[in-house]
């Protein structure tokens, strides 16, 4: 197994290089190159998974080896390597499978785009960087992948770079991530200074020997990085704006894989985090607050993709909540199921946008094709998209037996069992909000009477390139939960990941009574159903008027609609002062620094203007000048008495 692992990241990298260099000549064939490369990675990932499963209950990494000597400088020695354990295997499967489906989907979605080949250069490049991140066996390689996915995220958000909003969003994502990466980098440097090594195995082995206060600082700094990448408060603002990118990108990068890198990183570093209760409670509370905060914004948004973006932020909050309340397996489980149903939601939304955009264009309607208030009744036009979207909504709402039910329920149960009742309550409220806004979106888009002119606008089902991946993801959203999650607490997934986390968590693994489990499941199911019921009454039956509700709480509605004014606050508190300072420095540069340089030039020119009058061009003047000069020299020599010497 070990000798072939390098193929997993190298195949997409090769595809990215081929498509990048020969893309213009290959044209549509770039799609085939990308799909083939990621398919190879996917098969290899399955092979690795099989190998890990065959190894059974194996403590520590199954394989931890270098395949490339990267940096050697004195005591500083870094190799590109791989760290294979059940956690990495799960991530490999998630990344390669979703990436493969998104590649296939993109062939349909991007078919009419002039930069088709550029898209199929960036997408495998992203897959490569993500796989490097997942496979890393040391912090620097992790950081390499971490920055690589950030770069691809930037490139793909700004894919339609001639749109100002898209390039702005790309810059915002990059800069906000820089804030997080600043903490992450310092964390890595501290790890090097503390442990004298960047290798995971060495660091994990020595973790218990380091002073807790110092370890807390390191883990908090690492968590700052995770906050940036995984869009947690206070660094989440870039993710909703990232929806400016093409929708397959939103599905792959900003829902299923890249944004979960922070969750994966914290889970990977659990041997460090477990020693620092302070950091763990910070993680839990940041996650919990982000979850409810983002969900509250999602309640009132009207952009089909932005609702999903806030939902993603919220669900990532759930994952951090799980990591913080010391049920990391549930967090990873939620990451696993979320990748499928959130990927499906985004691809479904993409299918809707694709269809509605074309229909509007065809009919000459200039409405926003992403505003759900302009849709309605689309189920009749696009049954496959509607059906799969419904499955995803049920999954994310946590309805039995869909995938989200198993993972979300495990997190809530974990929070309750570990005595974090406040966080449990937050999670429960968030679950209700989630069910509400997802079904609000579903009803407004697919049900009811169309709110567009049905005589002129004719949406139609998307091509099979796009519907195929939807169907596969729908199937996964349906079965991925109970196939590996049932029964709760003892499912296949938990047993599979136990070798990673059991030695770290030690004995603190409280068992729940069966009745208690049932009650908790009932509570979370009930709350989800309530959320769906409210959405149904408001947006399907129209029994309760949404306008009346928003008119009743105008302040709250306004606050939520404007996303708690956080973007405005950041703009006033950080962006504008920074810009003002930059303008001041610019003024200093152009005034003082450039002023000195230009001043020297101006002085010389002024002197030249004066002196050029001496050059009359008349031979007589020159001769006179020479003679006078000679006279002066001779005269001074005579007067000084040299000739009498």
């Amino acid at each position: 197994m070990q000798s072939l692992i390098w193929i997993i990241p190298v195949a997409p990298m090769a595809a990215a290089i081929i498509n990048g260099v020969l893309g213009k000549k290959l044209g549509k064939a770039t799609g085939a190159v990308g799909i083939l490369a990621v398919a190879i990675s996917f098969v290899m990932a399955l092979y690795v998974l099989a190998g890990v499963m065959a190894a059974g209950n194996h403590e520590g990494p199954l394989a931890d080896g270098p395949f490339y000597q990267w940096i050697v400088s004195g005591a500083f020695n870094v190799q590109l390597g791989y760290y294979i354990d059940p956690l990495a295997a799960v991530m490999l499967i998630v990344v390669t499978s979703v990436s493969l489906l998104v590649h296939i989907y993109s062939v349909g979605y991007m078919a009419n785009d002039g930069s088709f080949w550029r898209f199929f250069c960036y997408l495998p490049l992203f897959t490569f960087a993500m796989l490097m991140l997942v496979l890393a066996n040391n912090f620097l390689q992790l950081f390499l992948g971490w920055e690589g996915v950030g770069l691809c995220s930037y490139l793909l958000i700004g894919f339609w770079y001639n749109r100002k909003s898209a390039s702005d969003a790309a810059m915002k994502a990059f800069i906000v991530n820089r804030v997080g990466d600043f903490g992450f980098t310092i964390g890595i440097i501290l790890i090097w200074l503390t442990f004298g090594s960047l290798s995971f195995t060495t660091v994990f082995d020595k973790a218990s020997t380091v002073e807790v206060g110092f370890l807390t600082m390191i883990t908090l700094l690492l968590f700052v990085g995770a906050c940036g990448k995984s869009a947690q408060i206070p660094l989440y603002t870039w993710l909703p704006d990232a929806m400016e990118g093409p929708t397959p990108v939103s599905a792959l990068i900003h829902a299923a894989t890249m944004v979960t890198a922070g969750v994966y990183m914290v889970a990977r570093m659990y041997p460090l985090f477990i020693h620092t209760p302070v950091t763990l409670s910070v993680v839990a509370w940041v996650g919990g607050i982000t979850a409810i905060f983002a969900a509250s914004i999602g309640l009132v948004q009207n952009d089909i993709k932005r609702i999903l973006a806030y939902s993603t932020v919220s669900q990532l909050g759930y994952m951090f909540l799980a990591l913080g309340v010391v049920v990391p397996v549930s967090g990873i489980f939620h990451l696993f199921t979320h990748a499928f149903f959130k990927g499906l939601l985004f691809l479904g939304a993409g299918s809707v946008i694709h269809s509605v955009e074309h229909a509007f264009e065809h009919a000459g309607v200039h409405d926003d094709p992403q505003n759900i208030q302009n849709m309605g009744g689309l189920r009749r036009y696009m049954p496959w998209t509607a059906g799969t979207f419904l499955i995803a909504c049920l999954a994310i709402s946590g309805i039995f037996p869909f995938a989200g039910f198993w993972s979300k329920d495990e997190i809530l149960t974990g929070a309750f069992v570990n005595g974090q009742y406040a966080l449990y309550a937050i999670g429960l409220v968030t679950a209700m909000m989630t069910a509400f806004y997802m079904f609000r979106e579903y009803f407004l888009v697919f049900e009811g009477t169309p709110r567009f002119d049905t005589h002129h606008v004719h949406p139609h089902e998307s091509p099979w390139w796009m519907v195929g991946p939807l169907a596969v993801l729908a199937l996964l959203s349906l079965v991925a939960g109970f196939a590996v999650g049932a029964p709760p607490e003892h499912g296949l997934f938990r047993n599979f990941l136990d070798p990673v986390f059991a030695p770290v968590l030690g004995a603190e693994h409280p068992e729940t009574a069966f009745v208690e489990t049932l009650i908790l499941i009932g509570a979370s199911l009930l709350i989800a159903v309530i959320g769906i019921y409210i959405a149904m009454m408001m947006y399907l039956r129209r029994a309760w008027s949404p306008q009346a509700v928003s008119a009743r709480f105008p302040r709250l509605y306004d606050l939520l609609y404007h996303k708690w004014y956080l973007d405005e606050i950041y703009d006033a508190a950080i962006v504008q002062p920074t810009l003002a300072f930059a303008r001041f420095l610019w003024g200093f540069d152009s005034g003082v620094i450039d002023g000195m340089v230009n001043g020297v030039g101006a002085l010389i020119r002024w002197l030249g203007q004066g002196l050029r009058r001496l050059q009359t061009g008349s031979v007589g003047n020159y001769a006179l000048g020479m003679s006078l000069g000679l006279l002066v020299i001779l005269g001074s020599l005579l007067l000084s008495g040299t000739f009498h010497g």
């Binding site: 002196l611 009058r613 001496l614 009359t616 061009g617 008349s618 031979v619 001769a623 003679s627």
Partner: protein, 102 residues
């Protein structure tokens, strides 16, 4: 009887200043050129006078060299003047040759 050194030096000085004045004051390029030759020959006269005064023949030999070089210089100078005159359409006015005016 021999001519005193002072006489020769005085004559040379007069010739030199005449030449210098010609260079500075006259406009005709040919006259200027002739004035330059005049200054050159004033110098030659000095050399010969000092050579005789000190009883050293080196000065007179030097004058021969100067004469030869002056002949060559006259050839080059006249050639330049001919091409200048052609370029400036039959003008000998030195003030018109002011390409170097700043």
């Amino acid at each position: 009887m021999s001519v005193p050194l002072n006489y020769a030096l005085a004559l040379a000085a007069v010739l030199f200043v005449t030449g210098l004045a010609g260079v500075i004051l006259r406009r005709n390029i040919l006259i200027i050129f002739m004035s330059i030759e005049l200054m050159l020959n004033a110098t030659n006269l000095n050399l010969v006078a000092f050579s005789r005064y000190f009883g050293n023949v080196n000065g007179q030999i030097f004058v021969f060299f100067v004469l030869v070089v002056a002949a060559a210089e006259a050839a080059v100078g006249l050639a330049i003047i001919v091409s200048l005159v052609r370029h400036y359409k039959d003008s000998l006015n030195g003030d018109e040759f002011n390409l170097l005016k700043g």
